[in-house]
Amino acid sequence: SQTIHQWPATLVQPVGSPLSLECTVEGTSNPNLYWYRQAAGRGLQLLFYSVGIGQISSEVPQNLSASRPQDRQFILSSKKLLLSDSGFYLCAWSARSYGSVNEQFFGPGTRLTVL
């Protein structure tokens, strides 16, 4: 069966510090991968998505970046965090099967607080 791992679960970082959040998927190959951010009590904002190794689509201008060094690994990074980067970061994957159900499976999330 497929599993998605995301860590850490919570993170408190000072303004200006770097960030690295990692997401890995097991039990599937060639998945679509997604990074979303959710502000408290708000909806999900799509940050990045990837349909293959090295293929990253950025959806909003920001000081965040994403990389996909391996098929089932998706990393979210920042060189210098801003207060506005606080939020709940969710990684998700879906199977590459156009014409079929593209259910997204979400990881447990990382709650990031920037002070």
Partner: protein, 112 residues
Amino acid sequence: GQQVMQIPQYQHVQEGEDFTTYCNSSTTLSNIQWYKQRPGGHPVFLIQLVKSGEVKKQKRLTFQFGEAKKNSSLHITATQTTDVGTYFCAGEIPSGTYKYIFGTGTRLKVLA
């Protein structure tokens, strides 16, 4: 830009009452998905609708996709306390990209 709006933002209902959330997109969608997020949790997939005018049912939940494939609704009959959470729609924009734009969500509270 592409937007997917949901109304209402919040809904409080007495247990046993019905609930409906509406989702509207600024552009035509190839398909639409619905998710439920419990407080403190992550979104969990409920269903995907693909065809114009499609209606699907899951027990007390009824999902509809509009004829123009720009709007959708989720209706819950006789709500229960287990229905508490935030319901999101998500549309694939543009078609075939696997890129999904999530709606703003409707937070449902059910009073026992």
